[in-house]
Symmetry: C2
Subunit: 264 residues, 2 copies
DNA sequence: TAGTGGTCTAGACCACCGC
DNA sequence: CGGTGGTCTAGACCACTAG
C-alpha cells in the first residue's frame, strides 16, 4: 500500500472494510460489491467527510482496502466520474469535484401520458395544418440546411375537456418526408414522430411570456396571466427534424427536474 | 455463434468487424475499443437501422463479431443502458428502447458566473435578512423535520448595474447552523452554501407567473410582464438545507437544457 | 433446464506526466 | 524514471427466467 494521501478513513474492520448494513448508514447488504463500494464512497463525499478537492485513495489501495480486484474499484470510479462527484488525473490521482454547475434531469414526457397520469381525460384537437416553403423564421432553425418545405401544424392538447397546452410545430419535410401524407387529426405530431424517428439530439428553451390575445382565447386565460413556453428543437443523424413550442398556462403548469448525485 | 435474432447486420469485413474511420460514418479511428463499439451501436440505433424494439445481438456474439472480450462488450452495453438507448432482460436479450420520456440535462450555474459569461458586471445586493421560527409555509418544505429556526434572506442579483434576478431564500438553521453568523451582505447565500455544503439532492420547479407589484419595482418590469420562477429545494444527508426561489424577468431570461443520447 | 445478462477476478500492457 | 489511471483479456460463477 502506497503512502500518499491521507489514510483511508474508513473503519478498518477485520472484514476488510467492505461496507455492511449493520452500521448507521442505510446500505442494503444484499447489493453487489461495486454498488456497496459506490454507496460507501458517495456517502463519504456527500456527508462532507471528503470535502471538495480531497484526494481519494488510489485504485490499488481502494482495491486492497475493500478486498476486491482493481477492475471492480475502477468500475466504481467510472460511475463516480460520470456522476460528476470526482475528477481523475493520471499520475495525480482522484479528487472530489468542486460543485460547479448543478445538473438536474428534466424529464419530458408524452403529453397524453402526462394528462392521463393526472387522472384526466386526454384529448387532442388539430387547429391548422399547412405546407409551405421554409421562410425567414424557420431558416434560423434549419440553420444552413438547404431550405426545403416544412409542415406547420398547430394543435391544442386537452385535459378533462379543458385546454391544457398549445402546440405549434414545424416538421422538416426533407428529413421526414413521410409526414406530408399525414393529416394529424387523429394523432398528434409528437407521438407520431417519436414512433417513427429514432433517437436524436434536442435542445430546450424555457421562458415565461405574457399571454397574448390568441392564447387568451385558446387557453382560456385572463389578460393578466403568464404562459410557460417550452421550445424544443430536435435533430437527427440526417439533419433538423422538428421544432415545437408548447405553451402552457403558467399558473396551471409546472416543470419539475430532479437532481441526483450519481447516475444510479 | 448462436442463431437467435436477426443476423448481425454490420458489415462483416475480414478485420472482424471492428468499426474503422475509413467508412462513411464519422468515427475517430484513434479511439478506444469500447468507444468505437459504442459509437457503432449508437449509430445503428440513432440512424434507425435498429428501430425501437429491435433485438441486439447477444453479448457473446457481439464480442465474437468485434473480436473483443465479453467484458468490453459488457461495458458498452452498460453505457447504452445508462444512456437509455437499450433495455436488457435476462434470458431474453437486449432491445432498443422505446423513446418514452426524453430526458434533458438542465445545468444550474452560479448566477455570478452566468452573468460574467455574458460580459456583464455582476453585483449582488441584499435586501433583507431575518431569523424566525419556521412557520406554516416553511413547514411544507421542512416536511416532518422538527420545526426549528430558519433564516430568510432576500436579495437582488445585478447584471451590468441592472436587476437580473430576485432571490428569496430560506436556510434551515438546524442543518446549517453556521449560517446564523453570516450577514450575507458581501456574499450571496448561493456561493456561500455551495462552498460549505457537500453534494445533495435537489428538486426544481419551474413556472411562469405574472409579475406582481414588488417585482415591477425590483426587476424594473411593466405590469404586463411575466416572470420565470425557478424554485429549488435542497436536501443534505442530514435533512433539508435550503429552499430558494429565483424570479427572472421572463422576457430577458431563458433556461436551456440539452439532450444527448449517451452519457459520453 | 439451458441460455442470458450480471458480476468479479488476477493479471497484463500502455499512455501519460510529475518528479 | 516511476506510478497512476485507462484499458483489455480469458475465464469463472451466479441469478434469473422463458420454455
Amino acid at each position: 500500500m502506497t503512502r500518499r494521501h491521507a489514510s483511508i478513513d474508513v473503519d478498518d474492520h477485520p472484514d476488510r472494510g467492505i461496507p455492511r448494513a449493520t452500521g448507521k448508514t442505510t446500505i442494503a447488504s444484499d447489493q453487489t460489491l461495486h454498488r456497496r463500494i459506490l454507496a460507501d464512497i458517495e456517502d463519504k463525499i456527500v456527508s462532507g467527510a471528503w470535502p471538495p478537492g480531497h484526494p481519494l485513495p488510489f485504485e490499488v489501495d481502494l482495491a486492497a482496502h475493500y478486498g476486491v480486484s482493481r477492475m471492480t474499484v475502477n468500475k466504481v470510479m467510472g460511475q463516480l466520474v460520470q456522476g460528476g462527484l470526482i475528477e481523475r488525473r493520471k499520475r495525480l490521482g482522484s479528487f472530489v469535484a468542486q460543485p460547479k454547475a448543478q445538473s438536474a434531469v428534466l424529464e419530458i414526457h408524452d403529453i397524453g401520458d402526462e394528462v392521463r397520469s393526472l387522472n384526466l381525460e386526454y384529448g387532442y384537437e388539430r387547429l391548422s395544418l399547412s405546407r409551405r416553403r421554409a421562410s425567414g423564421d424557420d431558416l434560423a432553425w434549419l440553420a444552413d440546411a438547404s431550405a426545403g418545405d416544412v409542415l406547420a401544424i398547430t394543435g391544442l392538447h386537452l385535459a378533462g375537456g379543458k385546454p391544457f397546452c398549445l402546440e405549434e410545430r414545424l416538421i422538416n419535410l426533407e428529413t421526414v418526408p413521410q409526414a406530408a401524407d399525414v393529416d394529424f387529426i387523429a394523432i398528434a405530431p409528437g407521438p407520431w414522430l417519436s414512433s417513427l424517428i429514432p433517437w436524436t439530439t434536442a435542445q430546450h428553451r424555457i421562458q415565461a411570456v405574457p399571454a397574448d390575445r390568441r392564447e387568451h382565447r385558446l387557453l382560456e386565460l385572463t389578460p393578466k396571466d403568464a404562459c410557460l413556453v417550452i421550445e424544443r428543437r430536435t435533430w437527427n443523424g440526417s439533419g433538423p427534424v422538428t421544432r415545437v413550442t408548447m405553451t402552457y398556462p403558467g399558473n396551471r403548469h409546472v416543470v419539475t427536474a430532479d437532481f441526483r448525485p450519481s447516475g444510479s
